[in-house]
């Protein structure tokens, strides 16, 4: 089951990158996120699965599709011929390295378990409080960025000033 979900995740992620229509690319990414969410559920990371499914597969996909619809540009992304081959080659090389090196390497490493264990809320509130402050900061930065970039009052006309 894990292997099936993993293959689905990798396949749809690759399609999202290779696809030349933005809409199809966004949908492939959403399907890849669903596979990832299912994988997380399967492995017992329920909270991570819920976040992945709701935020990445749901919210982000809606944002992508809205943005694509609003821009109304043609979906094709112009690319050079070389660029079309870069990702498949990189992907193939990564898969070879993964099969030849990483599997053998990770098998040799005895993982230390449990120094950051506990329930989700316990980990978040008791062990990772500092990260929580950082997350608040990241969200604040996003909100402030939207306020600043979509502000109503006139800009400064810098674009014209540039040579």
């Amino acid at each position: 089951m894990h292997l099936f979900l993993l293959i689905g995740l990798v396949a749809f992620s690759a399609v999202a990158i290779l696809c030349r229509e933005l809409l199809k690319s966004a949908i492939s990414l959403a399907v890849a996120s669903i596979f990832l969410a299912l994988l997380l559920f399967e492995m017992g990371a329920v909270y991570a699965g819920v976040f992945e499914l709701s935020v990445v597969a749901g919210l982000i996909t809606v944002l992508f599709i809205t943005a694509i619809a609003l821009t109304r540009g043609d979906g094709d992304v112009a690319e050079g011929r070389a660029q079309r081959w870069v990702f498949p080659l990189f992907f193939l090389a990564l898969a070879v390295v993964d099969v030849l090196v990483m599997r053998r390497l990770l098998g040799r490493i005895p993982a230390i378990q449990g120094s950051e264990s506990g329930g989700f809320s316990q980990v978040l509130w008791n062990q990772r409080t500092f990260d929580l402050v950082g997350q608040v900061g990241v969200i604040s930065a996003g909100v402030l960025a939207v306020l600043a970039l979509f502000r109503r009052e006139g800009g400064h006309g810098k674009g014209e000033g540039h040579e």
Binding site: E116, R128, V133, V138, A148, L149, R151, H162, E163
Partner: protein
């Protein structure tokens, strides 16, 4: 007390969009500058005495109630806090005049403060994952600040910056995930102890490569530099100063140094990689700067070159090399911020960034011209200014480490730097005054005041360099010189 470095800018950032409704200019200007002055004074008076006995861990409190947040302060993080606070304060003062024509000052300062809180959080963290979170916090704010002008150039540069920065973050996160899987922790102490116990060299090599690519992208080290020449010139001048002056150092050099020296321990292989990348950056940045006609683009390429010196010094790994690298990091924050602020003043007065169209501006903008000359001579390493001493320390460290070829190349790089900065000064400020600029006036008071402060600091640090080294830099070099022992002392952090 250390929590104030994060919570003060973050709270003020939350309040500013609301306060901006009451007062569009005065309150945002006043509060942002006051907050930065407060953090600067706090660093000098409050934080510096804390490290007299070495590094400290401080538990954060909220209205005297303890929080599950522990902050790590040692000489290296203190130096970074000081650099961030100093440059941020000057940038806030400069922004009073410069940001007038952009509008939305409250939003601008709010984003700037979030970026500063992110950088402060990063340097006070003793945990790899927390470093990643605060790295993202500073990065998200910086994307918006680069695009703040909303012109086509700014938006394109911000998008490019965002894309490459996301790749960098992915490399960093992947490396942290691998280390967590192997060692069972993400705290500096837990990772250092785990790697020591397990003796997994290949894995450390892979993680080092991932961190190098991730933090190298953030630091704009060659060959990971392609985003910087677009992003830094496109941003408003004070943001260019913040990005080149401190952000690339905090999110790139600081994080890389902390991991490589403090958690992994510097190996001969890492020394070779860092010194070679440092020298390559010096030359690629300097040679690319020579051909630039856009003043801010030239400065951006120069940043790549100067970051090369910092990485070269730290990469040597000897006490003197680390000291020289850190000294150059601090100096570069001063003179590169100064040069970007000057470029902003020129651009605002003339409406152009093209060096071909300038000329003779010293006659109409004397303060900007003089401070710009000081900045250029400092960055080129002319004695007795601050840049001379830091470059000298790096070159002596290279000679001591028997890296003579690299020492010669470092000197050569400095000569090229002097050359293109003299060209910049000649084209912009000297010679015959272009007819079009006869009606140009000196930059407004607050902008000039900020550049004068930075120019004076370049001179003062150069003249009083033993004091600056003893007070701020030696504790930082000592902290790094202890290698992984600092992290091992903080196991369970």
């Amino acid at each position: 007390m250390l929590f104030l470095y994060i919570i003060v800018p973050l709270l003020l950032a939350g309040l500013l969009p609301l306060l901006g409704k009451l007062s569009k200019r005065l309150l945002p200007d006043l509060l942002a500058s006051a907050a930065m002055l407060f953090l600067l004074v706090l660093t000098v008076i409050g934080a510096r005495p804390l490290i007299s006995g070495g590094g400290v861990i401080q538990q954060a409190t909220w209205f005297q109630a303890p929080l599950n947040i522990r902050l790590l302060l040692d000489g290296f993080s203190l130096l970074m806090l000081f650099t961030i606070a100093l440059v941020s304060f000057v940038v806030c003062v400069y922004s009073i005049g410069y940001m007038e024509h952009y509008g939305a000052k409250a939003n601008y300062y709010a984003l700037l403060l979030v970026m500063i809180a992110g950088m402060n959080g990063l340097v006070l963290s003793g945990d790899l994952f927390t470093i990643y979170v605060f790295l993202e916090m500073a990065a998200v704010a910086s994307y918006a600040l680069v695009a703040f002008g909303r012109g086509p150039d700014e938006l394109e540069a911000a998008f490019k910056y965002l894309m490459l920065s996301a790749v960098a973050s992915a490399f960093v996160l992947l490396s942290i995930a691998v280390l967590f899987a192997v060692t069972g922790g993400v705290g500096f102490g837990a990772v250092a102890q785990g790697l020591k116990t397990l003796n997994v060299r290949t894995l450390v090599g892979i993680c080092s490569a991932l961190f190098l690519a991730g933090f190298g992208l953030k630091a704009a080290l060659v060959p990971f530099h392609s985003w910087l020449p677009d992003a830094h010139p496109s941003a408003p001048a004070p943001i260019s100063a913040m990005l080149s002056g401190v952000l690339i150092k905090v999110s790139g050099v600081y994080a890389m140094t902390r991991v490589f020296l403090g958690v992994f321990g510097l190996t001969p292989a890492l020394t070779t990689v860092l010194t070679v990348l440092g020298v390559v950056s010096i030359f690629v940045g300097a040679l690319a700067a020579i051909g630039q006609n856009d003043i801010k683009r030239m400065l951006a390429y120069s940043s790549i070159s100067q970051i090369g010196y910092v990485v070269l010094g730290i990469g040597i790994g000897t006490p003197l090399g680390i000291l020289g690298g850190l000294f150059h990091l601090f100096n570069h924050a001063l003179f590169k911020s100064l040069l970007f602020l000057n470029a902003g003043a020129v651009e605002q007065s003339t409406g152009t960034r093209s060096l071909d169209k300038m000329g003779g501006l010293a006659k109409v903008m004397p303060v900007t011209a003089v401070t710009s000359v000081v900045g250029s001579l400092s960055i080129a390493g002319v004695p007795p200014l601050n840049g001379f001493w830091s470059k000298l320390l790096i070159i002596i460290a290279l000679v001591q480490a028997k890296m003579l070829t690299l020492a010669v190349l470092a000197v050569l790089g400095s000569v090229i730097t002097l050359w293109y900065y003299l060209v910049l000064q000649h084209q912009a400020f000297f010679g015959k005054l272009n007819e079009a600029w006869k009606s140009v006036r000196e930059a407004p008071f607050w902008m000039s005041a900020a550049t004068v402060v930075l120019a004076l600091l370049c001179v003062a640090v150069g003249l009083a360099f033993p004091f600056v080294v003893g007070t701020w830099l030696q504790p930082a070099a000592d902290a790094l010189g202890q290698g992984v022992n600092v992290a091992l002392n903080f196991i369970g952090f």
